[in-house]
Symmetry: none
Subunit: 208 residues, 4 copies
């Protein structure tokens, strides 16, 4: 979110809402063309048809701007009902892979995560804007599987939360690592093998 939302003052010229949209769009375009490390505030401002000061009035720097520009892309992820937990998991894995295939997310995600290791406020911004929002996919998938009877309803809410977090880290981590570190494609085959591993683990772990 830009800082616009927090503004309470009622006097003076209000900030242009059009500028916010233009800047975020320009940021994504610049990420595509230049990548994270060559993206400059000046270039974004020029693309957005906006002065540099207007950027700095809304965002503290490149990191914050890019997080906001990219966060919205993650909201496109959804969990269409494909009839079985395995199909649902495989589907969301492929969706996530497609998202990471896009140059703007590919170049930006790891970069802002890297920056966040030295900047607590940036880390919180990433967590709130991106990470925490997508856990909904795990929760929704579990709920759906429970309705289908594929998974039992858990009684220990705290343990259930911990498991959801674990699943989320495993899915997101494996996909990101495969694509960006190992630099191998996440195709239907890999997604299938990964899903089998994960779901066997889930049901097997409970049995064991």
């Amino acid at each position: 979110m830009s800082d616009s939302d927090l503004r309470a003052g009622r006097t003076g010229r209000p900030r242009s809402p059009a500028a916010d949209a233009a800047i975020l769009e320009a940021t994504r375009a610049s990420l595509v063309d230049l990548g994270w490390s060559k993206l400059t505030m000046g270039d974004v401002a020029a693309r957005a048809g906006v002065a540099k000061t207007t950027l700095y009035r809304r965002w503290a720097g490149k990191n914050e701007l890019v997080v906001d520009a990219v966060a919205v892309l993650f909201d496109e992820l959804e969990l269409p009902d494909r009839g079985s937990l395995a199909a649902d998991v495989q589907g969301v894995v492929l969706q996530f892979a497609a998202l990471l295939e896009r140059p703007e997310t590919r170049t930006a995600l790891m970069a802002v995560v890297a920056e966040s290791t030295r900047d607590e406020s940036l880390r919180l911004r990433i967590r709130d804007s991106i990470v925490e929002r997508q856990k909904r996919l795990v929760l929704e998938g579990r709920l759906r599987a429970q309705r289908r009877g594929e998974l039992p309803v858990e009684t220990d809410a705290s343990a259930a939360d911990r498991t959801a977090d674990l699943i989320f880290d495993v899915i997101a981590g494996a996909v990101v690592h495969r694509m960006l570190v190992s630099a191998e494609p996440v195709d239907a085959d890999w997604a299938g093998r990964f899903t089998v591993l994960l779901l066997s683990g889930l049901t097997g772990a409970r049995a064991g």
Copy 2:
């Protein structure tokens, strides 16, 4: 590796081997103090008591230098025999977590991965210096488990390779995601739950 090794010319003053070591050490120190994004070639040169030209004669830029400076740290990882596959996995997960706890790896790893999304040669350098070298841990762990009879000996070598890659991405990805993206600690509890999930998946998948 620095480019020193590749040098073929035999005349002229040879490159100082001490400089190489001093530079890599200075790079790690600078990473600790400043983090990736604030680290500068000038600062590294100053810390190493060396001229900037000396850096550029050996490394093409900041990315390459940092990869070399950090790669050696990953070689510290090893797989001590703890008696069971589960204990071995949990042990290496905790070792990897401890490595990512160090500021120089924490800040550098994601940063160079981010850069590598736009730079093929850098990606290869990372793969050769870091990623591929650590797959040995997975291979060694499997071999040991097979010797113990915990895992069957696979007949299809290609499938075995694909599985090893999958396991590697899942382990490394989950740990990195947990620590750097979710920003939650990888402690014995988490490592244990993760190990159960993974190993259940491995044995369950084969059964199913």
Copy 3:
């Protein structure tokens, strides 16, 4: 003068006369604190408790504002009757020196003159507001000296005008140059020696 005077419209809220005074006073205060080159319209507005818009509605820019703010100070100069032409000249020289000792005039006068070399309308504003108004001192001094019989009444009006201009340039120029360029004090001694030189020149030239 501010542009307030030129306003003919009669509808709507009238301009605050208090604002004019507050702005000019704030301008002088800012000149004292910051000097010409660091004075900003924003600072003046803030000191005057006025919006920047209000300044720009009345003055075209910094130059015009400063000329108006400083011009009034020059009107303080007067020619008290000290009994002889020499005493009168010496007196006005010391008065002028005292005026140039004040930081607001010291820093502003040369600055606006410098600007005026590239801006005809500013030059006219300076001439009307400052220079031409002070020629009265020369004319009054001559008249008084003629009444005392120290100077003959001139018959050629045009020649008399040219001489008055020459005297004005010599007096004002010498004092300004001594103080601001040579950066030496204009004290009673210097004023005395200068007066002797000037008056000898005046009477001697007529004789020669």
Copy 4:
């Protein structure tokens, strides 16, 4: 003078002497085209084909740079022997007027003097580079007049110095004031009348 002269260090790449010359030339060109207030360091650097940092390495800012760029122009003034003191004075007045007619001196001189009222080091730089150097003209003119018998040889050296300073302030001040403040031309007629006034004052004052 640029700071180049003061540099004693013997290591490292030496400063380019060509850059110094190019920068000063570019500064004068920029003064002609833009005038003092619109001249920017960036523009000068671009004209000189030099990086901004190269300017800042040598000069602290615009003021110092312009003083150095303009100072050399004042060295063009000389005192050709025209046979009499009056002719010499009139000649140098017209030369000085011609110098002030040039846009680079016209716009720069008053501006740096204005700045110097708030900056002691700048004032000293102006005094050393410009003012003090030109007093040679007064001293040489007096010496020549004494040789011709037009002026007596003074016995009190201190009084002679004070008189020379006074003459210098009167001549320079009157010409500058006439041209830049009154904005009237300094032509042969004015120069003649001024010379008569000055020389009558000189000889008359001694007699009185």
